[in-house]
């Protein structure tokens, strides 16, 4: 039985890093190749030795598909392609291909900064890896090889994020990556065809959450920023250059406009331009509103948000600064943090680590990540109509909850890392049928064709250039330019009958005539008896004239009758 196998090397019942192996129709595909941000050693990368022992990934994998630029989805890619060695195709969308190296470079810096590590990929490796990437357009079917095809769909989440439909023959899998079913200020909502995949592999970060609280959280954020500014304080927002920062920028820009606020908002120099550059370049990937108004006004060219210079941090008075990196561990955001930490009027958001600093400023943690919540996941299921569900990228307990909900409708799997889920597929193969054959079947008085009521049809199946056609055998002969061959069975029956050959033949004729009343039986002048298509001849043995040899021959269609006659005649003729 054909089956699809899914083995997570990462993201199986966790949110550490995504790396999922799928075997479908003899093809092996790796979905995402992420890095675990919680480790500083080799444990941060997936262990590729589980895939093949001799380390020849190129021989094993047919392609790698990256869903979006977050490092827990693409961070191990240069390690895999340039250090372990993978030479095959890597697919991602255009924006992901453009932004991915920036994040990888940034992370390389963090690694060097933290540990001075040497066993880490270099800039050259990142570039060489990116050269292997084949960009994907949305809704465009890409043929990886003769049999494997992939198609990307919009996933929201971050700029360039995509879901991907993978198809081999009539079997298919959809991998969602991270997605968001509700549009936000700068991105649209995920969308997919009703493609009815055999398995829908979905993230489940917010599997137990129904998030109508997004607006509240935004209001809360604005309120806190506003209060700090009113007090004359400074607000530091550590962010990553590209990702959710743009969402917050639009949020603040609109708020500043509405409230007519004058306090300056800054964004780390260089990065604003870079971010704007990418948003302009990939404007089609943003939401409808931004696209529509782009000609009159670029939403990413902010009136209130200006480029930040190091010296501004010492300026008196209130201000808001977006600074990188988001983890506040080094660079500009840390430097500003150190400067402002001593003042209780100031605020930082978020603040994920402890340092030996006398921190008097207020610290608020807020998350603005964009994942589908439980409602969103169900919504996607309704859209794609999968046969089976497989949950990844979520915590086990939360997945279990959602699994319970989903299983009321169909199978839902949640393999742990290293565990393989096998789903038996029952691929229905579409076949074209000739009108003639259909008419003939109808003429036989069967019911009208109905997709809901399967029935047997007889004909010849022609497989030609990836298409299947059922036609009548005559038409098949004509189309394929073949001659019709007759298949005949022959058998010899020995008989003791002390008569002449012609008498014996006549005796056979009368015997059969008496037994087989409904059949056409003829005694032909050429010395044969024919029962339907069965020919019977008689000859005497050279040694013994009484011993007769009956030669029976019949066509394939009369197989039943032929075998019946041979066994009948073996019993001898009536005396």
């Amino acid at each position: 039985m054909p089956e699809i196998k899914v083995t997570p090397l990462g993201a199986g019942q966790d949110v550490g890093r995504s790396c999922i192996l799928v075997s479908i129709g003899g093809k092996n595909i790796m979905l995402d190749c992420g890095m675990h941000m919680g480790y500083n050693d080799d444990r941060r990368f997936p262990d590729f030795s589980y895939i093949t022992q001799n380390g020849r990934l190129t021989d094993f994998l047919d392609c790698v598909i990256i869903s979006h630029f977050h490092l827990d989805h693409c961070g191990a890619l240069p390690y895999m392609s340039e250090m372990v060695g993978y030479d095959g195709p890597i697919y991602m969308t255009h924006p992901t291909k453009a932004i991915c190296p920036i994040l990888l470079e940034d992370f390389r810096k963090i690694t060097v900064d933290k540990k001075g590590e040497t066993n880490f990929f270099t800039s050259q490796m990142i570039k060489d890896c990116m050269k292997k990437v084949i960009p994907l357009n949305l809704h465009q079917t890409v043929q990886v090889d003769d049999e494997l095809e992939i198609k990307a769909y919009y996933a929201g989440h971050v700029l360039g994020a995509a879901m991907v439909h993978i198809k081999v023959g009539s079997e298919s899998v959809v991998y969602t990556g991270d997605y968001n079913m509700t549009p936000d200020r700068h991105l649209g909502a995920a969308w997919i065809d009703k493609c009815r995949p055999d398995i829908l592999i979905s993230e489940s970060t917010y599997a137990t959450t129904i998030r109508d609280s997004k607006r509240c959280r935004e209001r809360d954020f604005l309120k806190k920023v506003h209060e700090s500014i009113e007090r004359g304080g400074k607000v530091l927002i550590p962010v990553f250059a590209l990702g959710r920062a743009q969402e917050l920028c639009i949020l603040l820009e609109t708020f500043w406009e509405r409230m007519n606020l004058k306090a300056p908002i800054y964004f780390s120099t260089g990065l604003t331009e870079k971010a704007n550059h990418y948003y302009k370049l990939f404007i089609t990937w943003t939401n409808q509103k931004i696209r529509k108004t782009f000609v009159q006004r670029n939403m990413f060219e902010f009136k209130h948000i200006k480029a930040f210079d190091r010296s501004y941090a010492d300026n008196p008075g209130p201000m808001v600064v977006f600074a990188t990196p988001g983890m506040l561990h080094a660079g500009q955001s840390l430097q500003i943090f150190k400067k402002w930490a001593g003042n209780e009027k100031n605020m930082v958001n978020p603040f994920p680590e402890q340092r030996k600093l006398d921190v008097k400023m207020q610290v608020e943690y807020m998350s603005f990540s964009a994942h589908a919540d439980a409602k969103g996941i169900m919504q996607l299921i309704r859209m794609a109509e999968p046969r089976n569900m497989l949950l990844v990228h979520g915590e086990a307990a939360k997945m279990e909850f959602l699994k319970g909900k989903i299983e009321q409708e169909f199978n839902c799997y949640m393999p742990a890392n290293g565990e393989t889920t096998s789903v038996i597929t029952n691929p229905s193969v579409p076949v074209d049928m000739s009108l003639n054959l259909l008419k003939r079947e109808m003429a036989l008085g069967g019911p009208l064709p109905d997709p809901k009521k399967p029935r047997a049809m007889h004909g010849t199946l022609i497989m030609k250039e990836n298409s299947l056609k059922l036609v009548s055998s005559e038409q098949a002969l004509k189309e394929l330019g073949l001659n019709e061959h007759q298949l005949r069975f022959t058998c010899r029956v020995q008989l003791q009958d002390p008569h002449s050959d012609s008498d014996t033949l006549h005796r056979i004729y009368t015997h059969l005539k008496s037994l087989l009343k409904d059949y056409t039986i003829q005694h032909l002048p050429d010395g044969t008896v024919m029962v339907e298509s069965i020919v019977i001849k008689v000859s005497s043995s050279a040694e013994d004239a009484n011993s007769k040899v009956l030669l029976l021959s019949w066509s394939y269609q009369d197989e039943d009758l032929g075998s019946y006659l041979s066994s009948l005649l073996k019993k001898g003729l009536p005396t």
């Binding site: 977050h70 990540s369 890392n417």
Partner: protein, 859 residues
């Protein structure tokens, strides 16, 4: 163990034991275990320094609410502690050991189903099994049974770890029993804790394992292929790791099953078993002959796709078996022979049947994967002894060239096989890449030179073709470089060929795909690199008419919209030009133009890659110049490169700038040996310049200030990126030690420099505050006077006395801070323990903000 950690640990243990299944972060337990392991490795006894761990283990093991995560951790920790005999004894005394490693206990609790617990069980045992007492426990508790069951576990991670553990158990048994055999002296054995009884009781394991393997390898209709594959993997592992006689003992029990598998259900893991047995068994072993026979059976199989895999695996394993090697090489070359029509093999060397079957197989889609295996293994063939090779390497090159033509749809042969194969391989970049790699490798073949023109022609065709995939182009360039690199005689390259290559390079340099443009620019750089400088880069001139062709292309590429290409073109300019510029010839307009353009890139380019390349260009130029100071254009540009580079936003631009500064520093004080970055820094001022004229030193220091080296170092010192600050600090220490004689006296105002921005002044002020609070300081008696002085400011810029700065700054202290990783506090064991405590408090507080549970969007 740190005293603070010891004091926090009991509380952490309490919290963890009570955490049930709600753990804050899956990595924190792993890291905690890392810390315990590291502590144990330093020779510290965990139980002595943290007795609370014993209670913790008992609490978790006996609690019915412990979740699989915490149990898994506890199992591993138990194993770690029980690895020492004292720890083992202590755990045994509180009767926790048997219980915690008893799978039935966990099965009854319904936890065995969780792969995380099974992994913990395996890894805990693996850690514990270091001594005979542990092995005895393993045997007495009959743990071999559950371990054997785990060999084919549904989790890849579990089964693989179980394979490793089983091998470890057998190795331990082997080493203990060999101690028993060799030691002869019974007393010695008892002394080492190995009783004869232990060995006898442990020998039951071998029987168990043998029977298990035998049973698992019997071919059954119902046997699940992935499971038998896992057993074969296990067998390979055991054969590689074990020694005789155990090795052969195991093999003998399974050899009949192996034979059946070889004839009925071939697989690559099976081949690995046979190869492992063949290479690890000694020649006098009983089963050796049988293994060699099985190897022959596999190699002489008739199924094309399988036999190719077997041949490849055989050659990769580098077995010393010339006859089989020659046959395997023949099998691997067969598809090429058939597809190209070039007779690589003597008639019938691989048998007529195989040739017929292979020809048939090549007419189907599967020909792509077969040909790829054949091509990727060509390197294994080329390293074979010439007498084993089925044909001269020249013919293999010719076949690969013909095949590459076939891949472009250009087939000169009309044989049916060629036509059929070309249907599938034409335009397949997968096959093209494999063939290009093979061609690159073949450049090492002894007759390479004679074929250069052919290779050149074909690669030019590929470079010219608009259909070539960028990855194929990249590999074509690589092959070309490899071939050019090994050749000395370029007489076979006609003008027509050269023109063809130049045309192709020109075309690709303006390809629509940045990947193609970048590979082209990189190719020009590699070409300059492979061409030996001593011979005036003859090949470069011969092939591309020297710089007159490349420079305009590269200058064009400096304007490329893709920053990667701009960076590559700058790097290539450095590789191509710096050699010719060092000759001290008169300045050309082109040189000035390029330098100006590079400086513009450094100040204006929005991407870091290009700016990094510019600084590296100047570094390459400077270091390739025998006398840089006499090159006026270089010396004019250096100050602005340094000042712009160090103020850049990209950390690597800043770091490369400091590397340039280091070159200048070394040039100015040449006799001083470069200081190793990790060398112990003496607190004594360096005295090797005692005899040196003070005014010379002053003069040198002044020139460093003028060149912008000192300001760059001082700016770098206060940089927010740690690697930059560290490098600057190291260089400043080097400078301080070199000019130490100037610093002994009171501040010398004769050398001063301007620094932009206020942050530096703050840094210095901060330093002085620290000094007045009694921080250690490099010898300066007039410190207080210096502290009185305030640097004079001019707008945003500040003017400082270099000697005073060098003397006042506590560079050694700064260095020790900077040497620490920027996350050293965050990554310390104490921080980890506190994190666990904080997270548990947050989790147990029902009023905590629900938004806090999501910390997944950081990247």
């Amino acid at each position: 163990m740190d005293i603070q950690c010891v004091s926090v640990l009991p509380r952490v243990c309490e919290v963890l034991a009570a955490s049930g299944s709600s753990l804050p972060d899956d990595t924190s337990l792993e890291k905690l275990l890392d810390w315990f392991t590291a502590t144990t490795n330093t020779g510290v006894s965990l139980l002595e320094s943290a007795p609370c761990l014993l209670d913790f283990i008992s609490n978790v093991a006996f609690s019915s609410t412990s979740g699989p995560g915490i149990l898994s951790f506890t199992l591993k920790l138990t194993g770690l502690i029980a690895a020492s005999e004292d720890g083992f004894k202590a755990l045994e005394e509180c009767s926790v050991l048997k219980l915690i490693f008893d799978p039935h206990h966990w099965k009854e609790a319904g936890l065995w189903e969780d792969p995380c617990l099974r992994i913990g069980w395996i890894q805990g045992l693996r850690k514990m099994l270091q001594h005979s007492k542990a092995l005895r426990l393993f045997v007495q508790a009959d743990l071999i049974e559950p371990l054997l069951q785990l060999q084919t576990d549904s989790s890849l991670f579990v089964s693989s770890a179980a394979n490793q553990l089983l091998a470890h158990v057998l190795l331990l048994y082997q080493s203990l029993s060999s101690a028993g055999c060799n030691g002869a002296n019974k007393r010695d054995l008892e002394h080492s804790g190995v009783s004869e009884q232990t060995i006898i009781s442990c020998s039951g394991i071998i029987t168990n394992v043998s029977e298990y393997l035998k049973k698992s390898l019997v071919l059954k209709e119902s046997s699940h292929p992935p499971q038998s594959q896992q057993i074969l993997k296990l067998l390979t592992l055991l054969l590689v790791q074990l020694r005789p006689p155990l090795q052969e003992q195991l093999l003998l029990t399974v050899i009949d099953s192996l034979e059946e598998l070889v004839t009925k259900r071939w697989s690559l893991p099976l081949m690995d078993v046979i190869l492992a047995a063949n290479s690890s068994l000694q020649d006098d072993c009983v089963s050796k002959q049988q293994i060699v026979r099985l190897l022959s059976i596999m190699l002489y199989m008739k199924k094309p796709a399988d036999v190719i895999q077997v041949a490849a695996a055989f050659l990769r394993s580098r077995q010393h078996d010339p006859t089989h090697a020659a046959y395997a090489a023949g099998v691997l070359l067969l598809p090429l022979d058939i597809a190209t029509g070039i007779s690589l093999l003597k008639t019938n060397s691989t048998g007529v049947d195989l040739r017929i079957l292979m020809t048939e197989q090549l007419k189907s889609k599967s020909c792509i994967s077969m040909i790829c295996v054949c091509l990727t293994n060509i390197p294994q063939i080329t390293v074979m002894a010439p007498d084993c090779l089925p044909c001269p390497q020249r013919l293999i090159v010719a076949a690969v060239l013909t095949f590459l033509r076939l891949c472009r749809g250009d087939s000169s042969s009309s044989s049916t096989a060629c036509v059929e194969v070309s249907r599938f391989v034409t335009g397949s970049s997968k096959v093209q890449k494999c063939a290009m790699e093979a061609l690159s490798e073949l450049s090492k073949s002894p007759e390479a030179e004679a074929l250069l023109a052919d290779v050149f022609k074909l690669l030019t065709e590929y470079l010219n073709s608009p259909d070539s995939d960028p990855t194929v182009l990249q590999k074509s360039y690589k092959a070309l470089i490899n071939w050019i690199g090994v050749c000395r005689d370029f007489s076979s390259i006609t003008d027509q060929l050269r023109e063809g290559l130049m045309q192709a390079v020109r075309k690709r340099a303006c390809d629509i795909r940045w990947e193609a443009r970048d590979s082209t620019v990189e190719f020009l750089g590699h070409l300059a690199e492979v061409c030996p400088i001593g011979e005036e880069r003859e090949p470069l001139k011969t092939l591309l008419g020297s710089c007159s062709f490349t420079i305009p292309l590269l200058k064009e590429a400096l304007q490329d919209p893709e920053s990667y290409v701009r960076a590559s073109s700058i790097a290539t300019l450095a590789q191509t030009l710096t050699f010719s510029w060092q000759q001290g010839a008169a300045l050309t307009q082109e040189q000035e133009e390029i330098v100006t353009q590079l400086q513009e890139i450094l100040s204006q380019d929005s991407e870091g890659f290009a700016r990094r390349a510019v600084v590296k260009f100047f570094t390459a130029w400077f270091s390739s110049c025998p006398s840089p100071t006499s090159c006026s254009l270089l010396m004019q540009s250096v100050p602005s490169v340094l000042s712009q580079g160090v103020a850049d936003l990209d950390w690597e631009v800043k770091l490369h700038t400091l590397e340039l500064a280091e070159l200048l520093l070394d040039k100015t004080f040449p006799e001083r040996l470069p200081l190793h970055p990790y060398a112990v820094i003496s607190n004594q001022p360096h005295t090797c310049h005692a005899g040196e004229n003070e005014s010379d030193l002053l003069c040198s220091l002044n020139s460093l200030v003028d060149q912008g080296v000192v300001p760059a170092l001082l700016c770098g010192l206060v940089d927010c990126d740690r690697p930059v600050a560290l490098k600057a600090c190291q260089l400043l220490i080097k400078l301080r030690d070199t000019v130490s004689s100037l610093l002994v006296n009171a501040a010398d105002p004769r050398v001063s420099c301007m620094l932009p921005g206020q942050s530096w002044v703050q840094e210095m002020r901060g330093n002085k505050d620290a000094h007045t609070q009694g921080a250690p300081h490099v010898g300066s008696e007039s410190r207080d006077e210096a502290a009185e002085e305030t640097p004079c400011t001019d707008g945003d810029a500040v003017c400082v006395s270099v000697c005073e700065v060098l003397r006042t700054l506590d560079l050694d202290k700064k260095l020790s801070v900077l040497m620490q990783s920027s996350d050293h506090i965050y990554n310390s064991p104490l921080s980890l323990l506190q994190d666990i405590l904080t997270a548990s408090t947050a989790a147990s507080n029902p009023n905590s903000d629900p938004g806090q549970e999501v910390i997944v969007d950081c990247y």
